[in-house]
């Protein structure tokens, strides 16, 4: 089996001129007792592009997200955000540094309205109140209205998240991440289960945000999405980074395809 080199071989990437590396992961390891969920993974996330994490179920994709965002403490290795180590930092501090994420199971604030779900994400400054007074408050409300308009949730602003349809919940998850000022978005299967119309809107949204400078790392199983949006693809299997490179290089690799489809 002739696999592309694992781990720290970022030389296979397709660098786009002028783009910096925002996040560096080096020799990351995550053990759950005897189970090695992530093994010696090293990769870079470069600004302004979409990196897609692919791999079979249980490959360690979400675990990698959890380690980057501080929800899991790596057994060993390093996570570096624009020169600062994120190791040992609580998730809320990492979020404030500019790394936002969605969850595969969405984790919406179910009993809050759609508007509140988005608004609360923007209210990070103070514990008891936000600075900036009325003008900042108005600006936040306007930003929420604009995001809800773009995500097709304008008419649902006053509806509780728990009362939304499935696709609407997915878009609320996107709306929440759009409300952050994060430079890096980690999206965990954001388009799974979307109908064709919603899928089109999702792609349009994502492309527009990337065009505005957002860096995206996305976990996705839908190969159509992978082909449509990826600038780079990282292939994980059983906790190991088997390949990290340009979409053509990864998608046309028969060995990886066999692993992905469970043929070996």
């Amino acid at each position: 089996m002739n696999m592309p080199h694992v781990a720290h071989n970022t030389a296979t990437a397709q660098p786009v001129a002028g783009q910096e590396t925002l996040l560096k992961v080096r020799n990351l390891q995550m053990d759950f007792g005897g189970l090695k969920a992530i093994q010696d993974v090293s990769m870079d996330l470069r600004s302004g592009i979409v990196t897609t994490l692919v791999g079979p179920n249980g490959a360690g994709k979400t675990t990698l997200f959890n380690m980057i965002t501080g929800h899991l403490k790596p057994t060993s290795g390093e996570v570096d955000w624009m020169g600062d180590s994120l190791l040992g930092m609580p998730p809320w501090k990492i979020a404030r540094k500019g790394i936002a994420r969605t969850f595969q199971d969405l984790r919406l604030f179910t009993h809050m309205t759609v508007e509140e779900n988005v608004l609360t994400v923007m209210e990070q400054e103070g514990w008891l109140w936000q600075s900036g007074g009325v003008s900042a408050k108005v600006a936040r409300r306007e930003k929420v209205a604009s995001i809800l308009e773009r995500t097709g949730l304008k008419d649902k602003a006053g509806v509780r998240a728990v009362d939304l349809a499935y696709a609407e919940r997915k878009f609320l998850s996107m709306a929440r991440i759009m409300a952050t000022d994060a430079r890096l978005w980690l999206l965990d299967e954001p388009a799974s289960g979307l109908d064709p119309n919603s899928y089109g809107l999702f792609l349009e949204l994502l492309r527009s945000e990337v065009a505005n400078g957002i860096t995206v790392c996305i976990i996705e199983h839908n190969l159509d999405i992978v082909v449509n949006i990826s600038d780079r693809i990282a292939f994980l299997d059983q906790g190991r980074l088997l390949a990290d490179g340009a979409p053509d290089e990864i998608l046309n690799n028969p060995e990886l395809a066999a692993i992905y489809f469970g043929e070996r």
């Binding site: 965002t69 501080g70 929800h71 609580p90 998730p91 809320w92 979020a95 404030r96 936002a100 994420r101 969850f103 984790r107 919406l108 604030f109 179910t110 009993h111 809050m112 309205t113 509140e116 779900n117 608004l119 609360t120 994400v121 209210e123 990070q124 103070g126 514990w127 008891l128 109140w129 936000q130 006053g158 509806v159 509780r160 009362d163 929440r176 952050t180």
Partner: protein
């Protein structure tokens, strides 16, 4: 009869403050505390101590009681809220047991088992609040203030942060919220407002002892919140009213053995909570959209 009704209304108002403040942390922050009676007790004992040794002024005794309760709750909340919800329940239960021992044994402050007697009437602007109707007005005013404060809080960014933590701690963390600080603040605020109820209770009864601040009181207040409806403003008040009226209402049912009213009451509380959890888990007053303010 009028005196009986006035007495009942004062007690309902005091318990409504207790249930409203407990609902603030249960309904809006998802923090289940079994130590609410501790802060009720701290408020009562501190107010009584200040009234008997310094001044019975409402504006001195109550703020001191609130500050002491806030500081004590900080000692509980800071370590306990760093862990998952169920550990806080256990920690609060531990505090409740510890406090009962302290209330029973610290004779210099609490009077021990015998309690504190001869608490002078509370003074407002130099005017002693003695008559039951005057006290009812004061208690209702305090309940009103507590409701306004909590209603305002839950509609601020702080309230939204609390609700987001209640709904998903991990998503709140990923949204940049320091959930330990936010939850701690909510417990401190709730405890301080609970001490207000304690102070009112001490001044109204003129006598307090540990019996009023035991685990049974914490459970009763939690029942008021759950039966009335968590995450609503009206629910805890409805719950407090119903559960405070229940003993009196049962005594009117002549076919019930009057000596067993206490046990029947417990059976009714238990059955009501089980039935509500099955058929109306949100309580009698269900929340409106937004974790609201029904």
């Amino acid at each position: 009869m009028t005196a009986y009704i006035l007495n009942l209304l004062v007690l309902i108002s005091i318990y409504a403050i207790l249930s409203t403040t407990l609902n603030f942390i249960i309904g809006y922050a998802g923090i289940f505390s079994l130590a609410h009676a501790v802060f009720f007790g701290i408020g009562a004992y501190t107010s009584a101590f200040v009234a008997m040794n310094l001044t019975p002024s409402f504006f001195v005794a109550i703020p001191i009681a609130m500050a002491v309760a806030a500081l004590t709750s900080l000692a509980l909340a800071l370590p306990a809220l760093r862990v998952r919800g169920e550990y806080f329940v256990a920690a609060s239960l531990g505090l409740q047991m510890l406090a009962v021992t302290l209330f029973s044994e610290w004779k210099g402050f609490t009077g021990g088992i015998g309690g504190v007697i001869g608490i002078p009437p509370v003074e407002l602007f130099g005017f002693a609040v003695v008559k039951p109707w005057q006290f009812l007005v004061l208690t209702l005013a305090c309940l009103g203030i507590v409701i306004v404060v909590i209603r305002r809080l839950v509609h601020t960014s702080f309230g939204r942060s609390l609700k987001s933590i209640r709904d998903s701690e991990s998503a709140a963390l990923a949204s940049g919220k320091n959930i330990t600080i936010i939850k701690t603040l909510s417990v401190v605020l709730s405890s301080a407002l609970t001490a207000l109820a304690g102070g009112l209770y001490a001044f109204y009864m003129a006598f307090i002892n540990v019996e009023s601040f035991m685990l049974a009181t914490s459970v009763l207040v939690m029942a008021m919140v759950i039966i009335g409806g968590t995450g609503t403003i009206l629910g805890p008040i409805v719950g407090a009213t119903l559960l405070m009226l229940l003993p009196g209402a049962l005594s009117y049912l002549s076919f019930l053995p009057q000596t067993e009213i206490g046990s029947i009451q417990q059976i009714i509380y238990g059955a009501a909570m089980v039935l509500l959890m099955i058929y109306r888990p949100g309580g009698i007053v269900s929340p409106k959209a937004g974790g609201g303010t029904a």
